[in-house]
Amino acid sequence: MSQATLPIDFRTNAQHVPPKMPASVQKATAKFLGNRAALVEALGNELWQTLRQAAHDVRLHAITNLDQYLEQAERAVTKAGGHVHWARDAAEANRIVLEMARHHQVRKVVKSKSMATEEIGLNHALEAEGIQVIETDLGEYIVQLLGMGPAHIVVPAFHLSKEEIAALFREKLGVDAPAEAEKLTQVARMKLRQEFLTAGLGISGGNFLIAETGTIVTVTNEGNGRMCTTVPPVHVAIVGIDKIVPDWESLTVLLKVLARSATGQKITCYTQFISGPPRADAETGPKESHLVLLDNGRSRILQTPETRETLLCIRCGACLNICPVFNNVGGYTYGYPISGPTGVLFASQILGVKAAGGLPFASTLCGACNDICPVKIPITEILLHLRHRVAEGDEQEKAAAPSLMRTGAQVGSVALRTPWLYRLGSSLLKWAQAPLKRDDWLAKLPPPLSRWTMARPLPAFAADFRSWWRTRSHKR
């Protein structure tokens, strides 16, 4: 996905959402939420809450002991014959992969879906050096042909109709297939098989990294994750340092909540556990196995206890599905590969609040995300802290909001907390509204309140409780 212009302008993006997008989004999210709800009901709410708490606790334990677990993972991967690389930022990660590609004279790369690789712009870095990059997750393959990024972290192309996809295949692949999901999928299967078999390098992300044995875990449905990590002679996994889990036992909990929360499946088709390259040639698999541990701001996120739990995220997408804002605008509005509530948290902290623009405010704080998150991230609490960072700055960043706003807030708070000023304001509003008032409503107001009235009228200002109370008290 091309880097959106910074700072991210959520409002402008929201004003340009294609008219059909909200309905497409809602159709997709309703399906996932429905499937999820059925599975949660089958488990029983009590067990589900126990699992959520356990998932939260194991992830929090992992990231609050991250240094030790990272070292343990590195030792284990190396012992298993894999190679560990550390990338402080996107540029370093891209350099590492480029060098690997050059060393092996790679002309073509096959990739499975990885938000980390989108975050660092890996595809562009490789393509700039003349290396062909092929996204192999069907949804990613489709949006790649369109030149777009994913519209949803789990179903990247949900917003496209099968007619649009058929037209795309006709145009970009020269294949004339009927607009049926089955036939279109077969087209992709055939095309991509050749790519898997001839690619010099397979790139994946990692859903989890098990410190105990240095094992990369990938959770997929299509099989492209297995193909990318088995068929090409070299495999590299780009894994954020936040993906660490202590041991295999942790996954007995996390795997129970991940697929249920994401798509409403008990478990996905394929969960792979990769611990270095095959121990013998006859096993078949890559000759070389590489792990790139990506920081890119995660170690900094760790620093602030109030926002640290951002890193618990297991990328299930449930918060996207339940978010009423996301459901009305879709993923592209957020200007970042990860969208929805967790995307706001990541974008605001990986890019910084200045670059993230108004993202922390793109929420009504309804809290539905908190309740659905399988690892119990206190998303709205973190949003409130990020808003505080924007408005006033903290130990991570200085305030991004203009200082005029701060002055305004100070003046406003003095007016609002000084009783006589507050009461004066109430009276003035009742008086000033007179020419605009009709039938106890104010249909049109000047800016900035025009932002309210453009959508619906405001009730008329009608404060008279205090005088009523006083009259009543005097009567008694």
Binding site: A28, K31, L51, Q53, A54, V58, N65, L66, D67, Q68, Y69, A80, W86, A87, T136, L138, G139, V155, F158, A181, L184, T185, Q186, A188, R189, R193, L197, T215, N221, G223, R226, M227, T230, I241, W248, E249, S250, L251, T252, V253, L255, K256, K266, I267, C269, Y270, T271, F273, S275, P278, A280, A282, E283, T284, G285, L293, D295, S299, L302, Q303
Partner: protein, 219 residues
Amino acid sequence: MSTNSAGEDILAKVRTSLKRGPGQPVAPVPSTARVKPRVAGAPDAEIELLFTEIGKLNGVTRRLGGRDDLKTALAELVKVEAVQKATCWATPDLMTLDVAGTLKALGVEIVSPTAGKHQVAECELGVTGVDAALPETGTLLLRSSPERPRVVSLLPRVHLAILRRTALRADLHQAFGEAKDAGYCVLVTGPSRTSDIELTLTLGVHGPKALYVWLLDES
């Protein structure tokens, strides 16, 4: 391993953020982070559950009473799935059952899994055993070893898994305990699928399009 300045840098930043010193030990994983393992039901009920779950995901299950049953089933499979080439695991069980021999006798060309990915990709059928079977989700755990090449369950259009009762495990707790130090493994739950196009479920994206799981009981 040579000094990696990027690694040291990152670890130092992590430690500073967490206010932890180098070599500071990890507290044990809190007990609230663990859940109780599942207790398995009676073996027949477990098989029933496993087969039901596999069926829900469009896998095809079958019970075989012995080697004659196996031969009959293989003949049917070769016909139904138009199998011309096949590749197999070389585990002692499959060797003893002589699955490769039976297929050969049915006119199927047997391709060695180590013959190269292009050749294996031309096989319609891949035959494996099952290292662990998890009834609750209809999941098969397949390990990887010289006798269990990974491509066998991945590249061919049809995956046939021959299951023994002894592979049944109560849940992932048990299965993981055995698998974690044995190198690569994959959990397979149904044939490959996607809902990426208009949320319509389609099977056989990149992995196998069909999964057959046959329970072989022998008297």
